[in-house]
């Protein structure tokens, strides 16, 4: 009923407000995660947001094919690897915005300001509370050690989240050491890699293995459905003294397209998405962390405890993604 009212309100607003302006968004983030935000934005500003969803690869191919005449003003996607690629392909333009500069920390945006992280996703460890003492766990790297033989479950290497994680390792340790580590992971696997984070966690809960690596919001969603599962979050790499210590984080984010027809409106949309009000909504819809440091995470999310994130610029993950994929192939990580 409430949805119905909101829809009616939106239609009314669209009918009465003289919405001369509109912004067109190509989004690789799902409809149910972005539509509530765009609706809120339209209610507040009268600016209509037209959007289409698809996977990031096809959307980038579409942007490239349309070239100068693309109707898209904003490209919105998950993972810095994809954002970096869009910028590399020349699909985005630099944005000079004090608001975005103030709201989004430097390591969560493109050094050339072509894209900005809008929510933070932490990739961390989840373990079986019946079979692992928290003291046993330390870091991503340690999961390659013999003590975890037959106790590790992983999602497939085809997912960009794992590619970014390994890319960051390459950045920290170089290719050779990273490859040995990934080989160690593969040796420790209790089962072939799983198609998604949830399946991997379910295998941990079922006792097939003891620990896995997932994005926290998948953990949140699973526990909401099945609170009795013997699973808990562990924040790795907190003890290391090195400058690059910390939990691997990535972003979902957006940039203004190179040939945007409404560039000023596009920037205003991004600025609004980085503001307190939108950040609460943006991250809470999906149990992610706000990118804007001044905004507190949702209480559900905050209950998992605080952690020190890895502060390397997430753009590095994009640069090294292809290397990471080839490395994982060589290491036999399917």
């Amino acid at each position: 009923m409430r949805k119905f009212l909101l829809a009616a309100l939106a239609m009314l607003a669209a009918a009465t407000g003289v919405s001369a302006t509109e912004v067109v968004v190509y989004s690789a983030r799902n409809e149910q995660l972005i539509k509530p935000l765009f609706d809120a934005y339209t209610r507040e500003t009268g600016v209509k947001v037209k959007f289409i969803t698809d996977k990031e690869g096809p959307l980038m191919a579409r942007l490239k094919a349309e070239g100068r005449n693309t109707p898209a003003d904003v490209f919105l996607t998950v993972d810095a690897g994809n954002l970096w690629q869009a910028s590399e392909e020349g699909l985005l333009r630099p944005v000079n915005s004090k608001v975005l500069g103030a709201n989004i920390p430097a390591h969560l945006r493109d050094p050339d300001n072509e894209w900005f992280g809008l929510s933070v996703r932490a990739r961390t460890l989840v373990y079986n509370t019946n079979r692992v003492k928290p003291g046993e766990l330390t870091s991503y790297e340690d999961l390659a050690k013999p003590q975890w033989k037959g106790r590790l479950c992983l999602r497939t290497s085809k997912k960009v989240y794992n590619q970014s994680l390994v890319a960051m390792m390459i950045w920290e340790y170089g290719e050779e050491k990273s490859e040995n580590m990934v080989k160690g992971w593969v040796k420790n696997l209790a089962a072939d890699p799983f198609p998604d984070d949830t399946k991997a966690m379910e295998a941990v809960a079922a006792g097939l293995c003891d620990v896995t690596v997932v994005n926290t919001y998948y953990f949140g969603r699973l526990m909401e459905k099945k609170p009795a599962l013997p699973l808990a979050i562990f924040w790795p790499n907190q003890q290391l003294k090195a400058a690059n210590a910390g939990v691997h984080v990535n972003v979902s984010g957006a940039g203004v397209t190179k040939y945007a027809k409404h560039p000023a409106d596009a920037v205003r949309l991004l600025e609004w998405l980085s503001s307190d009000k939108a950040q609460n909504l943006y991250a809470d819809v999906n149990m992610e962390y706000p990118a804007n440091a001044k905004v507190k995470p949702d209480p559900k999310v905050a209950a998992w405890g605080s952690f020190k994130p890895n502060l390397i610029n997430v753009a590095e993950a994009g640069k090294l993604q292809a290397k990471a994929v080839m490395l994982m192939d060589r290491a036999g990580y399917k």
Partner: protein, 547 residues
């Protein structure tokens, strides 16, 4: 078809001597598929040596083996299931036959990757079966569903309806007299099936089998759920993870070449023998009455396949959907369903008409040039959907840019219109319609044409008055297949749909891409429901056609 139309002169010596009339119709149809395929392959001009070397060394060996076993396994599986069930429901009488004759088609309405996910949910380590085995018997590792055998099993269950439908149309077309004739010549019923009915149905069976194989090669969803590496996953990896479109198209070109050779071989094998029935299919099929354990076995076999391929997944989907429908089902679903129906309906009509045109032109002019052109027109089905979608989108955007620049237009002309979506469906699904139409035309004896000719019934009139009525089951089969395929289609719809134009399949994508399988169940169930009603109607119709 246009035999009466004056032939326009065509430049180029290679076409000299050919009758250009049909080519004026066939070439544009062939171009619809050829252009996207060529666009994808054009990236070959810019090879990416480093990535190609890597793929060659670390990726290709595994995926060649995997793809080979998958095609072999699924091919054998769908033939076994499809032919046996088609024969039982078309030619025999046993308890439940009436129900199974249409119910065995139902799995077709479920997107294969939905079935895959359900199976994985039920039989993987964390599923109810494994949990039960673990709790009751301490079996920690039951035979893994995520294995080569598991993928083959699930794909077979999802794809056998292609063979079932085309084989059934073929068996029905034969009528009963054929078997009676064979038996009167001293063959046992079993021998008559093997030596007469089955060979006669081969074009139909092959048409369905070829579709199932092309679908297997192009599949991305199912193999991803099982994390089973094939050509498709490698193409996606080269493109989306290694950011190399050239490497992706190198892989795609191997795939296309392979499929083309298979399709030509199949046609060549078939072209050497004629399977046309000498008379119009008998209108009174008296079915073989199975008795005793034969009947029990037939019912059990049909029930088993129906249960595993449809009842089980649907039970799980309904279970999921029942938990969330109150929260998720809103008036938008009417719009999703309407969009899906409209696209599938228009698509099936258009694709069916093109397939009929192509098939007819090939019948009138059975030259090898025509045959190869027809085969080329069906290659789109073997390309992974997202790859084909890009191949279509690039020329559309290029055309749009020409329009915009030339005429100073404000926005796109073609892009974002339903015309592009439908055009793209033609490129992808021509194979789906062409197979049944071609095999149906093949069953019409040449003597029918000659008789018609002698009576002065030629050209479009002959198609309309003589062939179409005889082709009814084949054309309906073609349309039904295409309709259900479009209902489930995703990558092309995603890429080319107008803003805000969401379908049920798009809704499934939105939910599953975030791993929300329970919420994806609702649109998946709607696809099955909305997609099946017309198909069930068609099947009943074809049943009555032979009564």
């Amino acid at each position: 078809m246009s035999e009466g139309i004056p032939v326009a002169p065509v430049a180029g010596a290679s076409l000299a001597g050919l009758r250009t009339g049909p080519w004026l119709v066939v070439l544009p149809i062939a171009l619809i598929t050829a252009i996207p395929v060529l666009v994808v392959l054009s990236a070959l001009a810019d090879p990416d040596q480093e990535i190609w070397n890597h793929l060659w060394q670390f990726v290709l060996p595994e995926l060649l083996g995997n793809t080979f076993w998958l095609v072999l396994g699924v091919g054998l599986g769908v033939t076994l299931l499809g032919v046996s069930l088609a024969w039982l429901t078309a030619a025999c009488h046993y308890p439940g036959r009436r129900f199974f004759s249409w119910a065995l088609l139902l799995p077709m309405a479920l997107p294969a990757y939905v079935t895959a996910f359900v199976w994985l949910g039920l039989f993987d380590f964390s599923g109810p079966l494994a949990t039960w085995l673990r709790d009751e018997f301490g079996i920690m590792r039951p035979p893994p569903i995520r294995s080569r055998g598991g993928v083959i099993l699930v794909m077979t269950l999802a794809l056998y309806p292609y063979v079932y439908l085309t084989a059934r149309a073929a068996f029905q077309g034969q009528g009963r007299r054929l078997m009676e004739a064979a038996q009167s010549l001293g063959l046992s019923r079993f021998q008559a099936f093997w030596r007469v009915a089955l060979p006669m149905a081969r074009p139909g069976i092959m048409a369905g089998l070829l579709l199932a194989i092309m679908e297997t090669l192009a599949d991305f969803g199912t193999v991803s759920v099982f994390n089973y590496n094939t050509f498709t996953t490698a193409i996606y990896k080269a493109w989306f993870s290694l950011f190399s479109l050239p490497a992706a198209s190198q892989l795609a070109s191997i795939l296309i070449f392979f499929v083309f050779v298979v399709a030509l071989l199949e046609y060549q094998l078939r072209a050497n023998r004629s399977y046309a029935a000498s008379t119009r299919a008998s209108a009174t099929p008296s079915r073989i009455r199975l008795k005793g354990w034969h009947a029990a076995l037939a019912t059990a076999w049909s029930s088993l396949v129906f249960g595993l391929a449809f009842a089980l997944p649907v039970w799980q989907i309904v279970d999921w959907a029942s938990g969330i429908w109150a929260r998720d089902l809103d008036e938008r679903y009417l719009e999703f369903a309407w969009h899906s129906l409209l696209l599938a309906g228009l698509g099936a009509l258009l694709v069916g008409a093109l397939a009929l045109t192509l098939g007819y032109a090939q019948r009138l002019h059975p030259t090898s040039a025509m045959r190869i052109t027809a085969r080329l027109s069906t290659l789109g089905y073997a390309l992974p959907g997202a790859v084909l979608a890009v191949g279509i989108f690039i020329p559309v955007a290029w055309l749009d840019n020409q329009f915009i620049d030339t005429f100073g237009l404000d926005g796109q002309v073609l892009g974002g219109t339903l015309a592009v979506v439908l055009l793209a469906y033609c490129a992808r699904f021509l194979a789906v319609s062409f197979g049944p139409v071609e095999s149906g035309l093949g069953r019409i004896s040449r003597s029918v044409d000659e008789a018609a000719q002698s009576l002065g019934v030629v050209g479009a009139k002959r198609l309309w008055r003589i062939h179409l009525p005889m082709l009814r089951v084949s054309v309906l089969t073609a349309a039904a297949l295409t309709f259900v395929d479009i209902m489930k289609e995703l990558p092309i719809t995603l890429m080319t749909r107008p803003f805000g134009w969401d379908t049920l399949a798009v809704r499934v994508f939105e939910m599953t891409s975030e791993g929300e399988w329970e919420r994806a169940a609702l649109p998946a169930a709607a696809i099955a429901l909305v997609g099946l009603l017309p198909v069930m109607f068609l099947i009943r119709n074809t049943e009555h056609a032979n009564h």
